[in-house]
Symmetry: D2
Subunit: 154 residues, 4 copies
């Protein structure tokens, strides 16, 4: 029923992720990827905190938006690039971690727009609690390189 | 008409900003603060990029959310702490910088909820272009320390 | 595990729904209600359309927001009233009906804020397709009547 | 600087508005239209209320979404149709009216997506108070009729 993620598509998505300097800076890993599905994770660190000592909402937004973008990109065709056009994030509980995990799922694929939802979890020793939820709208741009210079025109 | 930002309130807000590890990691500065108003800025760096070589949407979200939170906090009373409960971000143009600047303005103060809007600009040599727009809902929690341990209960 | 909806709570929610003039005008029914769960439905009518002949996005937003509000109200205590503070709606497919059904589920209860998600479906002869998705933030106000004059102060 | 709204474009937008059954049902008027700008208004009526006796949030959402859609449509080319893909609405104060007025302004035009913001006002005898704010993403579909049958494919 659900198409499989081809090796070509998987490589396209993972290569894109690897080009993101910000992912390296935060230490975000891509833990899982499938057709219309992506899971990212980041481990707690003092440098990722806000004033209460929890993960900053910006970190939560980053791993949620990125998981949404790559879940969407996994259903887009070869020769395309993905852009997030907008997203909304509800912060549901303090983001304590110790690992913050985002799981994004495409809810509506399309030729131009792909809509994705994402849950973000505080993940610890054998237990998880819901930290945040995102609903995102991504855009598929054709015949654009998914690299510097590729998204000049919307 | 608009109240002034008292020295006590200004100190409260700037101290909170200084406690955020993530702001130091990204190199974000608080450029301006007034009653119901906050401006933050971050300079371009390769480590802050996504796959096209622009600022990552997570950086845009971070400085927009934080400006919103501190614009809101500037109108909250002493003895409170601020939490972002949710935000929505539209990405309008590639975030090229060279400096990314967020300007947040309280549009509706309240005893429990303070609503804020924020424009994010690509700021260069004497010119600015609009990169993103945020609409955020923040929560005022009373009798809570704005430090680790302070936001245990919502 | 999940608490039950008491008869008192059920009556509180259904009475509130019955006070809404707009629900009568549109012909919206409350089809199901449980603890943290609410289902509403509206049948297609020419007077509810936009220019393409589908349900207007305003109708979709109305039954989604209302289902969210009442799912939230079902977990709020006696003596409270519910207000929607904000919501975001993604429109995923044309809202053809013939019946438009909204199903809302509380994802995060709280003393002050209750967060709810809602799917809206085109419901026909033994089949359903997803038309829209909402993520909403509702506010619990204590010691306020859930009737005219009850929500004077936020 | 800002282009003018041509008579052809104005007729296209007003004709589309006139095809919306839901606008007639609620008694919404298009008060003003310009290039990238639209103002709608609806007068208070018991049949448009929620349980506190104010305008229902669904009415607020309807006139805000519609103003956004038509502000966007005013900058779209001939032969196109407009669809709202998503919107977010913050409810800032009770929607008392006596007239509820929405004013939408395009903040980012584009070939595919047009982003719009909208303020909704309680409008009375020589005074206005801000009731709600919306940020919306609209989609321009080319070579589609802006009438029944026109939006079959996204």
């Amino acid at each position: 029923m659900t198409p499989s993620l081809t090796p070509t598509a998987e490589r396209r998505v993972r290569d894109s992720f690897a080009r993101q300097g910000f992912m390296k800076k935060l230490g975000v890993e891509m833990r899982a990827l499938d057709y219309g599905w992506c899971e990212l994770a980041v481990a707690f660190d003092e440098t990722l905190t806000q004033q209460h000592g929890f993960f900053h909402a910006g970190v939560t937004a980053t791993i949620a938006d990125n998981a949404c973008g790559y879940a969407a990109y996994s259903v887009m065709p070869e020769g395309s690039t993905v852009l997030t056009t907008e997203f909304k994030l509800n912060l549901l509980a303090p983001a304590k971690g110790p690992v913050l995990v985002s799981r994004a799922r495409v809810i509506k694929p399309g030729k131009t727009l792909v809509i994705v939802e994402c849950d973000v979890w505080n993940n610890g020793e054998g237990e998880e609690t819901l930290a945040a939820k995102m609903l995102a709208t991504t855009l598929c741009l054709m015949n654009r390189e998914d690299a510097p210079g590729g998204a000049a025109k919307k």
